[in-house]
Symmetry: C2
């Protein structure tokens, strides 16, 4: 049994989902040889606590549920900043879950860099540091002999990054296509039942799939961030967000949807990456009409999917959830298991 001490920066939905998994799946995790201890949590709003023998995940969740500050829990230290938590918690793994900023990548990138410098493995589900600074962060991790787990940045806990980066590493991936944004896929699925765009969007907002300002999803920025991650992590590229050709779904009309359906086809917001024979990487996010037989065509609702085109296996497709508290929490566990398996 290996014990791993974890420090969590941020304790929102994903952190709570992960704590819920540690609370409810302890038997499964022990059977896999891992004993996870949350020794520190630092959240800007919920408080910051440190306890070297670890907190009970149930206690952490109960405090949040009651709207009580985490700092009311028994703890050896309170009120540490994120930086103090990283430097002083003695954790083996930093779990970086602060808010996503796709413009600057901060403060998450600073946390990731500091943790690696301090000799900790890092797991993050935060697209900011990975979309903006992956090559440098991965080089630092490698230099320090540490792991940087990023499974949750694409398709939440559906193991797309480990599939593409490890299991298909020798298969010669030359093209990747995906439905990487569940919100837009849900909206398009609703439009296929006859709903106009505005009504489908309102439905997505009501279900919690879309935010009040849906721009990030419907204009393709979220998917574009994921394309950058796939390109830089799996294809060794150094793309930036501005290099992705990006078009959202807001200009699709009910007539577009119907005419595709009449032809036995479906509109999907497809994120696409292709390595040309010259080694150039072409990357885009755009609405695409797919024939019904395409493996991504039948992926409906908020589900995500990714197709890796490979030299040795042809096409390999993975379909699974792209969001959700437990699904994203699982990404953290999955990265932890990979770190301690190796």
């Amino acid at each position: 049994m290996k014990t791993c001490k974890l420090a969590l920066i941020g304790f929102g939905n994903v952190g709570q989902g992960f704590a819920q998994i540690l609370r409810d799946q302890q038997e499964t995790i022990s059977a896999l040889g891992l004993n996870c201890l949350i020794v520190a949590v630092s959240d800007l709003h919920k408080g910051s606590i440190y306890q070297p023998q670890g907190f009970s995940p149930a206690d952490l969740l109960q405090a949040v549920k009651e709207g009580s500050s985490l700092e009311n829990l028994p703890a050896q230290a309170r009120g540490w900043s994120a930086e103090e938590t990283i430097r002083q918690s003695g954790a083996d793994v930093l779990v970086e879950l602060s808010y996503t900023d796709l413009q600057t990548g901060e403060p998450a990138t600073g946390h990731v860099r500091l943790a690696l410098q301090e000799g900790m493995h890092v797991i993050t589900t935060n697209k900011g540091p990975v979309a903006l600074h992956y090559p440098a962060l991965q080089a630092l991790a490698q230099q320090k002999g540490l792991k940087l787990g990023i499974e949750g940045t694409v398709m939440s806990g559906t193991p797309s990054m480990q599939l593409g980066g490890e299991l298909l590493a020798g298969a010669g991936v030359f093209k990747i296509q995906g439905i990487l944004n569940g919100t837009t896929n849900y909206i398009l699925s609703q439009m296929e039942t006859g709903a106009p765009y505005a009504e489908a969007l309102a439905g997505a907002q009501q279900k919690g799939y879309a935010e009040a300002d849906p721009t990030g999803d419907v204009e393709g920025y979220d998917a574009a961030g994921k394309v950058v991650i796939l390109a830089n992590v799996l294809m060794g590229a150094s793309l930036t967000l501005s290099q992705i050709q990006r078009e959202g779904i807001t200009r699709l009309t009910p007539a577009d949807i119907q005419s595709a359906q009449a032809a036995g086809e479906r509109w999907k917001l497809i994120a696409s990456l292709e390595k040309t024979p010259a080694g150039e990487i072409l990357a885009s996010v755009r609405p695409t009409r797919l024939p019904q037989a395409h493996p991504l065509a039948s992926v409906g609702g908020a589900t995500n999917a990714i197709t890796f085109s490979t030299a040795l296996l042809g096409d390999v497709t993975l379909i699974g959830p792209g969001a959700g508290r437990l699904a994203t929490g699982y990404a953290i566990l999955s990265d932890l298991l990979a770190i301690y398996r190796a």
Copy 2:
């Protein structure tokens, strides 16, 4: 760079596919940190050779292409039996590719057991030893601190076993459903275009998907063998072939196919495994009508697919090739990379 010395027992389609990958993808494999040397090949028909510094994969393939015995190649020793090859080749990994026998599992099981006893890792794409003796062989491997790679026994090189056994290990898999036999899926796809069963079967035989005696495929024995493997490897069961409820596709009529299509559904030969709350494993292979929205419904032709139902992620589906020389050869490379990654 790690060097791994390989001994191949059997040099048919899969072994040649693997040699082709070593010949053509050397750059990719080196970049992954592995230097593979085939130090011995032992094939009942093509000859048996040993050379401690390794054979050129191109030379091995050229000899087979010319119909020349492998024993005409420069070698330090010739004519060794499989047992002598295992005992005397000094290989790090045995690649067991002899013929499949789902009744006795021999001679492959004996080769696997001997190699583990001699301290070699083992990779096999042979369903026999895995369907019949996995728990004992895995226990032996574990006791010796060795790895038993079996990716190629289900869905060829599509990494279904590593997905289910490693990446989803903590997700709480409680149900598995799959299209695990490409021949029958091809026949069913053809029947959907109006071909009667006999004509679709003849087409599959012409394309090399079905054998002259198609019983193993069309009566569901091949899929049942894979169900046993999934149950015993991924769910810790100890099932035998006779415990699988098995029904093939031979009784499906064009009228059955049409009536499903009229209802927006499709017939698929579904291999299914489910863990009951009491811990019992229910296992079957049978033709099943799936609604079009089911992730396995749109999997057409000779393609395979598997859906893992999990507690933390819901359904995760993997779609990819289930056969083919290069695809199955890739399973061996994929297992090798996993052995040397760990």
